[in-house]
Symmetry: C2
Subunit: 314 residues, 2 copies
């Protein structure tokens, strides 16, 4: 097989930066969104907020589970890309970065992990006890450790900049996400978990470009893990029309995406990526004791780091 182009050749940072200019939210920064969420004035979903600022998923655990969770991410970096964590046990105002060449302060300096997500979910001994609350100041203890996990918004911006707009974005829908039978490598308390994947339909002839564009985003799931209709079987997905999370899939023209469309290179096929819901499922399946906190789906933390700060340099 022919080698793939060098990573530097395929990520056009200039194009990525220019694409901001077309967006009306140009004035927004990660810090502004965080401060607005902290004061309770920003309570929306963060999709499209402060374009090109990296967004992150949240998982907060009692410290006794922190080593195992960090190892789970390390062993399964495609579905569980760890961006940063609390700088120490109980720390909600300082980050330790897991991205090479980026400090915790560069990731997000003025940060309050208890307030800066627009909405949170709280679990006690595995049972949801608070849904979509505005902060977790009452729940956060000196024993908690927060983990920030990469999200696909970063590579979706790159796909948009390349003219390969994901179909769900065209129609303002949530991306469809599926449970699979592909096991995670276990880590301590975290066992018997499987990949959750997100799906975006593309024409066969575009798949090489889609792979090339998303490949450098190793901190936010990277290139697809599989594609094509036979991938549905390989991944153990039960029904492409009934995703376990998100909304049902549509094509670019808005029609339901339920089976083969077009032929040859023009055929539209499903393309699957590792998904940040994976670590949340892993945490739920581990049956942890105590208070566990997550963000409400779609209500992310917006960082100071930019999309081009976290892509892989070759």
């Amino acid at each position: 097989m022919a080698p793939i182009a060098k990573l530097n050749d395929v990520v056009d940072v200039v194009t990525l930066k220019k694409s901001i200019g077309t967006n009306s939210n140009i004035q927004e920064s990660g810090e502004r969104v965080r401060l607005a969420a902290r004061s309770g004035t920003y309570t929306k979903q963060t999709s499209g907020a402060a374009p090109t600022y990296v967004q992150a998923n949240l998982i907060v655990l009692p410290s006794r589970y922190a080593d195992d969770f960090r190892l789970l991410c390390r062993r399964n970096p495609v579905p569980c890309p760890l961006l940063a964590e609390s700088e120490g046990i109980g720390k909600w105002n300082q980050l330790k970065s897991w991205i090479e060449g980026l400090t915790g302060d560069e990731m997000a300096k003025n940060v309050d992990l208890r307030h800066d997500f627009p909405k949170y979910m709280v679990y006690q001994d595995g049972v949801l006890t608070k849904s979509h609350c505005l902060n977790v100041e009452a729940e956060w203890t000196e024993d908690h450790v927060a983990f920030l996990i990469g999200c696909s918004y970063s590579f979706e911006s790159a796909l948009v900049a390349a003219g390969l707009v994901p179909a769900h974005m065209v129609h303002g829908r949530n991306v469809p996400m599926y449970r699979t039978s592909i096991p995670l490598a276990p880590a301590g308390a975290f066992r018997y978990s499987t990949y959750v994947v997100s799906m975006r339909p593309y024409r066969r002839k575009d798949i090489d470009r889609v792979r090339d564009i998303t490949r450098p985003y190793v901190a936010t799931h990277g290139e697809p893990i599989d594609w094509g209709w036979d991938a549905v079987t390989r991944l153990g997905i039960k029904d492409i029309c009934r995703p376990e999370y998100g909304e049902t899939p549509v094509t670019a023209d808005g029609s339901p995406f339920a089976g083969s469309l077009g032929t040859g290179d023009e055929e539209i096929v499903p393309v699957f990526w590792g998904c940040g819901v994976t670590p949340q499922e892993a945490v739920r399946r581990a049956g942890l004791k105590g208070t566990v906190i997550g963000h409400a789906p779609g209500y992310m933390l917006v960082l100071d780091a930019r999309d081009w700060n976290i892509i892989l340099k070759s």
Copy 2:
């Protein structure tokens, strides 16, 4: 589920270091084995050579495949743990380390990657053209990049030190290795590869200790990926009695290990780890053009780094 003990608690480095004292090869060092291989006087397998010195698998690729292979390892660190690579394209005498806190020179200073493995295999356009040759000076070009991959000898030493001697070692056999249906996350030219796993039988009651002891060896496959008889089905292993690599499995008393033995906590069950044959299979399946070089199975590079230099600090 209860949390797992902190990593520091379970790896007893003192015991590990003391266990060297019982070995007659105490005088051997990694460098001595390399120099002997370089001069052509050491031509044996390296199992048991220079105990506690880390050993490594080899994959040498034309430089155009290097980015994709490095990414394959990064996305699949459990079966493909990358220890080090050539310090630059064409470099055979200097390493770049991928282990945090360890420089390339600390990994192996006086090194000649063309001579220091006791035996090599050479492939041209995917076809084996030389088997078990003593050096690859004629094949190495200024365009080659060498990758060193972790091997399970490191965690096997730790299991031995804890009195949990793998059954195949008791009987001087090679570990059984199996092809599975668990996919690797693809990376550029490397697609449609699956995990290869090694198997060691253990009693159910010992599995938690076996997991704890091997967990910190993240640079050499870490803790098991699955265990128990139902894992055989989950992993898509065709026949436990017919491994694709290595020798057929035996129990500690030397009898064939073909099915359930004992009951309850005393039942002996198969325990599976990620295996360094995985990247070799991935390279073969990718159908690469040009000259690819590997070590002959069992004939590893012995490094200057020690087992306790590469374990994860919590």
